[in-house]
Subunit: 259 residues, 2 copies
Amino acid sequence: MGAMAAPAEHRAQYRAGLAVPTSGAAPGFTQANLVVLPRDWAWDMLLFAQRNPQPVPVLEVTDPGSPGTTLAPGADLRTYLPRYRVWRDGELVDEPTDVLDVWRDDLVAFLVGCSFSFETALLDAGVPIRNVEQGRNVSMYRTSVPCRPAGRLSGPLVVSMRPVPASLVATAVAVTARMPQVHGAPVHVGAPEALGIADLAAPDHGDAVDMEPGDVPVFWACGVTPQAAVLASRPPLAITHAPGHMFVTDVPDSAYRLP
Amino acid sequence: MGAMAAPAEHRAQYRAGLAVPTSGAAPGFTQANLVVLPRDWAWDMLLFAQRNPQPVPVLEVTDPGSPGTTLAPGADLRTYLPRYRVWRDGELVDEPTDVLDVWRDDLVAFLVGCSFSFETALLDAGVPIRNVEQGRNVSMYRTSVPCRPAGRLSGPLVVSMRPVPASLVATAVAVTARMPQVHGAPVHVGAPEALGIADLAAPDHGDAVDMEPGDVPVFWACGVTPQAAVLASRPPLAITHAPGHMFVTDVPDSAYRLP
């Protein structure tokens, strides 16, 4: 089985019940955050994304009830992710490996870009990824910066942080600026206190990552932002991927890199 | 009055009744296409934009009934454009200089990026703009390429064409690729027949523009696309800007240029 078949092979395993994080699966192919909402809430979400494009870069929106996506023709969004979360009135009620039994004809799925997609580009440009070197998840923080509200949705900007050697900060900015559909350029470089982050060693999500001497903390908008806003607004039903258990698409990361 | 005040000064004149095209007004500041629809149709439009980001780069969506916009604080979208078009069931019924009398509390306004915003960047990079040199409007064509449908909206891709010297095509691509919110990189270079364009000298909108020896026709996605799709679907009410009579914002074109 060639490298190009890898995403479909991974998805088939997840469909069969394999419930593992997707980190490192099908390198070079885009992984996406999943947020599913009733049609009645979809306008708020799409408007929230339009108003907050860095944290919520929408790659695809499905038609109501349709479980298919152009990002992976033939895949079924109800079964091809390794693990889901089901939320009712903002409360987590289940973490199943498929959502066939909760699916409804009025559900709309949003697939949202993920910063995993620019990590390959950073490595190619010589920028080390400390959390990968240390075998840890990326550090994520809720900030004191509010997103622009949209309808019933509001909430804080959530950021991911990667320590970058000071001499490579400009490179990291230039590389990721060319990938606006997967969060784009950093929203902030240095000075975590200006984002309301008191202690880099105590992230709100993910793992703490050690800084090396001469590293500067660089902050990118994070795909957890829409999930935080959606859940705070307590829609009657929402389905998301479980943290780290993303949707593996057939789209190469390079498709989201501007020329 | 300094250069930074120019957009507000122009808008004040349009509000007072001056009904002239905005070409050349407040150079360096972004001008936007306007499409206003009832809330019931807004989801279709925002989804159409998400699925067709090159022809429909949405810069701003207002809350239902609100005539204000963050792109020009204090401006009123019902009066600050030089001329409007009012459409009922897809038929043009009026071309007023304000739309106060047709405004409703359920109307949502979309401000859509315009390729005028990258013309300054092209000139700065040494790429001539032939239609400006010739004192003509840009050439626009309906193509045989369908947009991705969204809900009730579908229609063909409309493109603008600029003749570019062959030695500068790569420069024109690189410069505009960095401005995805104002249509971005060309969708097509050369070979108009592949877009279903039989005769470059007979554009569907705008003026015919003469090619100079060694020029190649370069095609960008055009902001007329959403208007064509919206009108083909015959919503009960729609308001747009009149052709060439755009909304002049306070946002510098450079804000839509990636680093």
